[in-house]
């Protein structure tokens, strides 16, 4: 590179690079640096203040044997199957109904289904924990009128997970519905007309045309839900005070947080972050292959 060609480079491309640099500088400082620092920390032991002690692979080895971490992964798998299939299906159905254009108050329904998503999570979690209180919650009160004994909502592992699943469904149904709506808009209407001509009913059109063509969108929503389920943090923190009865609603992110900010084990936390990343990467790759490969 001669001096001349460098000058030429800057003259031609200097200004554009300068204009996009603010984003990249912020990105490097707030995204790239923490990710690399986290990797570095995962091989050390650090309490947040004194020196970092090098420990090699010890954090990772301990993590693989850590029953609580494995439990947190199992919890997320259980919660995932408890709500994702139902929620995704209803999101598609609701989107389909609201897209048909025949329903009055369409925008009212769209808004009201979307509002749970924009409500602050902490408020939602807090209200749910009051509603599900065994002795003073509204839910058990109403169930009592039907003759059902007080249900120990947040006090047994199974019910605590179901409570989390219900909360997450309530919250994310609207968001997923909006995604599905966007997907529905991309299906050409002629296909439906052609189907009607051939004598197909509404349900048949739904299952034979809509669902197959929505496959990429459903895949996208499922991947988001997977990542979202394993990242659940505020909901278990508020609803079950950080992990529920006997670690039953603990998630990897919540465990990561506890290790860093309550037990002052930043190195171990960082190793949790990386293992969690690898697990999610493998899971989403698997989902991509399973859902995405069948071309329409």
């Amino acid at each position: 590179m001669t001096q001349n060609s460098i000058n030429h480079f800057f003259k031609k491309y200097g200004a554009p690079y300068l204009f996009i640099s603010p984003f990249y500088i912020l990105f490097a400082v707030f995204m790239v640096y923490p990710v690399i620092n986290s990797l570095y920390l995962s091989f050390h032991q650090w309490n947040g203040s004194t020196e970092r002690i090098y420990v090699g692979w010890e954090n990772y080895i301990n993590l693989i044997h850590d029953g609580v971490f494995i439990q947190s992964l199992i919890n997320c798998v259980i919660i995932f199957f408890e709500y994702v299939p139902i929620m995704t299906f209803f999101a598609v159905v609701l989107a389909y109904i609201l897209n048909m254009g025949k329903l009055k108050l369409q925008s009212f329904f769209r808004t009201s289904i979307f509002i749970p998503y924009i409500t602050p999570v902490i408020a939602v979690g807090f209200v749910f924990s009051l509603l599900l209180d065994r002795d003073y919650g509204l839910v058990n009160l109403l169930l009592g009128y039907l003759g059902i004994k007080p249900v120990e909502w947040l006090l047994t592992p199974t019910l605590a997970r179901i409570a989390i699943s219900v909360l997450v469904t309530w919250r994310w149904l609207g968001y997923n519905m909006i995604i599905m709506l966007a997907g529905l808009q991309s299906i050409p209407l002629e296909l439906y007309d052609a189907a009607k001509v051939d004598g197909a009913s509404g349900t048949q059109s739904f299952f034979r045309i809509t669902l197959p063509l929505m496959r990429p969108i459903i895949l996208f929503a499922t991947v988001l839900s997977t990542i979202g389920t394993f990242s659940l943090f505020t909901e278990p923190l508020i609803l079950t005070q950080g992990g529920g009865p006997m670690y039953s609603t603990l998630t990897p992110v919540l465990y990561l947080y506890s290790n860093a900010f309550q037990y002052l084990k930043f190195g171990y936390s960082s190793s949790i972050a990386y293992v969690y990343f690898i697990i999610l990467f493998i899971l989403t790759r698997f989902e991509w292959r399973y859902f995405g490969s069948q071309a329409v």
Partner: protein, 431 residues
Amino acid sequence: MKQFRAYLVCFVLLVVTFNIVLFTGFSFAQKKTTLTVWCWQYQKGCIDTVLQDFYKANPGIEIQFRILNPGDLYQNLLLALSAGEGAPDITAVESSHLARYVEMEGLADITDNAKRYYHMFNRYKWADATKDGKIYAMPWDSGPVALYYRRDIFEKAGYKSDPDSIAKLLNTWEDYYKVAKVIKDKTGAYMFSHAKANNDGRTFEMLLWQQRLWYFDKNGKVTIDHPLAVKTLEYLGRFWKENLTEDTQPWTPGWYAGIKDGKVATIIGAVWMGGFMYGWIAPDAVGKWGVVPLPVWRATDVRTANDGGSNLAITVQCKDKESAWKFIEFITARKESQVAAWRKDDSFPSFEPAYSDPIATEPSPYFGGQAYRKVFVDLVKQIPPIAYTKDYTEANSILTAEIATYATGKKTASQALKDAATRIRQRTKRP
């Protein structure tokens, strides 16, 4: 115009320079230090009782407060110490969390100033405030534990309800268990409240502490699976199995209602519990409560333990440690300050000279005319010196999960504590 503009510029420059000189000169002349203090609302109330006296005695110091709940305070303090800036000059820390911050080297060494007060504070409070012979915090208030009881429930069950009779009646934990059954039969009330699934482990910790047991022993070895600990847990198990305890979680609506509506006959609680009860949990129950020392298992146990209690410390980021010391000395090591806090919010002083104040023997109408503070004054000096240690938070969360598995019938007591001990050993690398 040009001339006018020139004059205007000169005038503005003159005013600005004058102000700069004025303020720098002012601050040089005053030498006023501003100290930032982080504490929670309850403590601010205690400080306010003597704040004006402090300002009078120390005109060059100005205090800025930031009120946080303990959870937020610990979070923010951790981040500020980690970042190297943003920490307050002075912070309040509960004894249960103190060792962590000492370990993090976030608190200033105040040995030279504090050591002259060493023998004037409850001895056991120094365990968490010291490391390698150096002092890092001043004890503020203590949490001696005793047994609160509802006079009317005991009367209904056919017992005499004055403190001396009750102390004789509930001499040992076996007596306590027998009386629990009688009370349940005759009045339907639970003996005390202890959640099964979502417990916080504090009752169990208190019962261990009075037997001089803890998560760890003096050498740092994990002892939560000690045979006596197993027996203690099995004792609690009897109450769960026979439905003698109310299954509510502390600080929830059900728990408050249990206390207010007289559904529980006793509370195994610290001195601050009394203040909370007459202050806001059950202010209408005047005359219905009394206090006695804890029952014991054997003669070598003490009739009390500790639950809670806080300290004041100077952080390493404080630039004027001398002034900061003056403040914490004024609040903690001064009889008038501690007594004022005691009067206002029942903050039980760790500073022993305060116990000679008449408030200690004042009869309390809420407790049926009993001088209930005297009970705690007598008990506090017997508390065995056990340190929470820096691993308390993690050990407690491991223990509570295992207690829950025992309480819900999924494991035996010995298996639950053995698993807790194994995991605590793994996580804290203690033998």
